[in-house]
């Protein structure tokens, strides 16, 4: 049995435990009285805040129950926000505005479970991150950029961040970089600097973050790349050392996507065979967990699984099981779960299907129970910390302004689920790289929901625990566990991947979705319902990388290779030799990153471990 099997058992066992305790509270008078007493104490301690209208409201809303069994089911089965099993939230006071004048307000919490320290993966623009108190010290916005050459992206980073004290940069790479290919490789001209920034060498990495203090507590870098992630990570560290000396390493703060499983299951940006990719990833994770305590070395991503057309349940099930598989790999290296567990974070897609009402809530619960009972994790490693992005796939070109409404609904769902941070898509995404006008409107959508409206500001649990939500939670949890069982039958995540189980499930779901659109079972407004055939598709100006710039990148790279030719061969030989052994190869990769290009390293590694063989 893989760990996933044990997770299924743990959840089943925990659910049975909750029901046993409910029975006990109803039959064992002493226990029942204790639970009621505890409930009353919790209620008495809830602070009261005041809305701008003068209305007084408790900062935590609880269900109106007073019977011992019901209380037990709520406290153990769902948990208060910030408490196991975290159904209602990873933290206690998410999204709430600070108390206006604490002196006159009543009640206080004990000091724990407070605040979101989450510096999350890939949040591009974003909303308040956990407790409002933290939002004061750090803006949750991530400045997402990646275009043309490193200096162009650098300029954009400085432009975007000019009004912000904390610099949270999120980096998109171009196609060749995502596939570990050098800009001077034959057959890829036209792709350099398209859709992201071209990075070939440590010198590009120096240029990319030039002028930013990489060791500052206000700085964090996010890199959206998976296939060659360990190589890019090594280049980032090499660039930081070049600029600030070796002492910088433990101070580096940020995240890299590095999620190989979801690449193989959905996004297809993989360059080494799966097992070799996982080995390089674990080598890197082991290194960052020990040497870079403020780094998040993997962002376990369901977003791309969802965007590839999976059902919401498949998205959650594959993402969670991938997460447990990474945890199993790290545990197998002998790294304590409480060391690596808190460094795992998640990235989910939120669309319009009914499951999204509770998908993240249920994911949080399963993760917590699995980590605690199958991995023996403590409080911090039980928390499922998640960045959500609204669904790009749900947006359509026809009457594209409707996309504002779609995104608004998805934002509402994301926050109902207690996401730690969120990115809202621009309405013009079906046509183009988002333009400034629509990016602004998308970001404003979040501000309107969180700052302008009173929905989430005054009371935690405002939209949790309704009978409908509970019904969705139960159904979704059962369906996720059923997926887990199927994966387990196929030999765990790795076995299922080799049987291309996740891929074929996603493809089947995607095809069904398309058919439902065409046969009308799935109404999409202005596409297959209330069509307006007179509307013309708007035209947008697209930013494309000029030929001269692409040539400049090629020339620079060639010069770098000439300059370092002798050293590069040596470093590559050494790297190859270490990869042949069982040793952690990340230190050798760090050395190679000083003098070798991305393409040189990935080609040499491919000689040793082979190339990725795509699964159709």
């Amino acid at each position: 049995m893989s760990k996933l099997g044990r997770v299924v058992e743990a959840v089943e066992k925990y659910n049975a435990f909750v029901e046993d305790e409910v029975k006990r509270a109803r039959t064992d008078k002493k226990f029942g009285t204790e639970m009621v007493k505890r409930w009353n104490e919790i209620k008495a301690k809830i602070p009261v805040g005041t809305a701008p209208t003068g209305l007084k409201l408790p900062r935590l809303a609880l269900p109106e129950i007073d019977e011992a069994g019901d209380i037990t089911r709520y406290l153990l089965g769902d948990g208060l926000p910030g408490e196991f099993p975290f159904l209602n939230g990873a933290y206690r006071e998410m999204y709430l505005e600070p108390l206006q004048s604490p002196a006159i307000e009543t009640g206080t919490y004990e000091k724990n479970g407070h605040g979101a320290k989450s510096k999350l993966n890939g949040s591009k623009n974003g909303a308040r991150n956990g407790a409002a108190k933290l939002a004061v010290t750090e803006e949750p916005t991530r400045l997402f950029s990646g275009l043309m050459l490193a200096e162009d992206t650098n300029e954009r980073f400085h432009f975007l961040g000019r009004h912000q004290r904390s610099k949270r940069l999120s980096t998109a790479f171009d196609g060749p970089t995502l596939y570990g290919i050098d800009s001077d490789a034959p057959g890829i001209l036209g792709k350099i600097g398209e859709g992201g920034v071209a990075v070939d060498t440590v010198e590009d990495m120096v240029r990319l973050y030039d002028g930013f203090d990489l060791g500052s507590p206000d700085f964090s870098a996010s890199m959206t790349i998976s296939g060659p992630a360990p190589i890019i990570m090594a280049m980032y560290i090499a660039a930081a050392k070049r600029r600030f000396g070796p002492g910088i390493v433990p101070k580096l703060r940020g995240t890299i996507q590095a999620d190989i499983f979801k690449e193989v299951q959905a996004q297809n940006e993989t360059i080494f065979p799966v097992e070799a990719s996982l080995r390089f990833l674990t080598d890197m994770m082991e290194y960052t967990t020990r040497e870079m305590p403020r780094w998040y070395p993997v962002s376990i991503s369901g977003y791309h699984i969802g965007e590839a057309g999976s059902t919401p349940v498949q998205q959650a099930a594959y993402t969670l099981s991938n997460g447990f598989a990474y945890a199993e790999m790290m545990a197998a290296r002998g790294i304590p779960v409480d060391e690596f567990g808190p460094r795992l974070s998640f990235f989910l897609d939120c669309g319009l299907d009914v499951e999204y009402i509770a998908l993240t809530r249920v994911s949080r619960r399963i993760w917590a129970i699995g980590m605690r009972d199958a991995f023996g994790a403590g409080h911090k490693a039980q928390m499922f910390k998640v960045h959500t992005q609204t669904s790009g796939r749900s947006l359509v070109a026809a009457e594209f302004k409707n996309n504002l409404t779609r995104t608004a609904a998805e934002l509402m769902l994301s926050y109902m689920n207690g996401t730690n941070s969120c990115h809202s898509n621009s309405a013009d995404e079906p046509f183009t790289t988002p333009s400034e006008e629509w990016i602004r409107l998308a970001a404003h959508g979040q501000a309107i929901l969180l700052d302008e409206s009173g929905i989430f500001k005054h009371t935690m649990n405002m939209l949790s625990g309704s009978p409908g939500m509970k019904a969705v939670e139960r159904a979704v949890e059962a369906a996720i566990l059923e997926e887990f069982r199927e994966i387990e039958r196929l030999g765990g995540v790795m076995g299922a991947v080799e049987n291309r189980y996740q891929r074929s499930q996603i493809q089947t779901a995607a095809h069904r979705y398309e058919q439902q659109i065409y046969n009308g079972l799935r109404p999409i407004i202005a596409l297959n319902k209330y069509r307006n055939d007179t509307e013309e598709m708007p035209e947008f100006e697209l930013a494309r990388t000029p030929r001269a710039k692409q040539q400049l990148q090629v020339d620079r790279l060639k010069k770098f290779k000439e300059k370092n030719a002798a050293k590069a061969d040596k470093a590559l030989d050494k790297l190859a030799a270490v990869v042949e052994t069982d040793e952690n190869c990340f230190p050798a990769l760090l050395e190679a990153a000083e003098v070798c290009s991305l393409g040189q390293i990935s080609e040499r590694l491919q000689e040793v471990v082979g190339r990725f063989r795509p699964m159709v």
Partner: protein, 386 residues
Amino acid sequence: MSAPIRVLTAVPICDGHDSAINTINLEFIRNGIEVVYLGFHRYVSDIVRAAIQEDVAAVGISSYNGGHIEFFAEVVKQLKKRGAGDIKVFGGGGGTITHDDQRLMQKRGVDQIFFAGTSLTDMVEFVRKRYGKRPKRRPTSDAEMKLARNLTEIEDGYANGKRARKKIENRKSKIENTKVIGFTGPGGAGKTTLIDEIVLRLLHRDNKSRIAILSHDPSVVGEGALLGDRATMINSQDDRVFMRSMATRGQSGGLSPATEDCLQLLAQEGFDYVIIETVGTGQEAMPFQNKLVDQTVLVMNPDYGARLQLQKIVMLDLADIVVVNKSDQERARTAMSEIERRLEGNKRDQQLVATVAKRHRDAGVDALCDLLTEPTQAASKKGKKK
């Protein structure tokens, strides 16, 4: 019954967005079109080579990562350069391809761009109408293209109910130095990966050798097929490899009605190796009855079930080499000894090899490759056949 339309589909280099193309492939197949799917992250040169070898009517490209103007235009240009301008190029990219782009791309010879919101039915209709009829006279500007087009004539001849015998001059003969190897075995045993690993080794061992591959996927009469082996066979996408994907078009036993004629044609073309792969076969299958195949390889999974099952597998009596692939699995040891005993009963000098084809530089695959390249071995095997 006329021959199905064949198209090639692919996603460009540095692009992994295959969700749209997967859906479109499925829809094409359901509507009687045979799709040779090359996969994602593919170079122009790979697409052009495959289009010519597979002799498709058109190439469909799905691009979501930018650079489409250059990429599509380059495919058109390279096809024309090879003299295969009759193979048309169409495609789409959701909203990433603008109307301005489309105009420019069409000016550069792209046949059609589909925009977001085009129904799958419309795409199927377009392909049927536009590519349903082959031009009467088609160019054959080089030997490779001539071979590809002759194979099409044979295949289409069978589909139209008449055998195209005239294409093969010396039936039942082949060029002396050409070795023909047949691979068969149950679905999921890893035949495709194994062949691709063998091809990689053959290409390395002799830098002049040329290889032909005839690979099969199942289909029902009058319906389409997904011919997807090229996507997995990364090492076989090489200028020294001629690969042809065939649908079985309703024939049982693992091969197509046209296979034997196609194989004869290939065997007379001077390749060093001709490799033929059946579809996943059942216990009773014995696909290589013709005398053209020099060596037959049965590829098995370690988990074939109880030992009794082995008695029923006919190919265990006929194969020259039996491969237990995925031999890193727990059951492999038992499987090896059970099969060994089964083969001993045959009293022929059949070879048994354990491989892990997915493992890079696997020693078992090396050993298999040795068996396949040893000339004396092959000669002695041939001598034993009736």
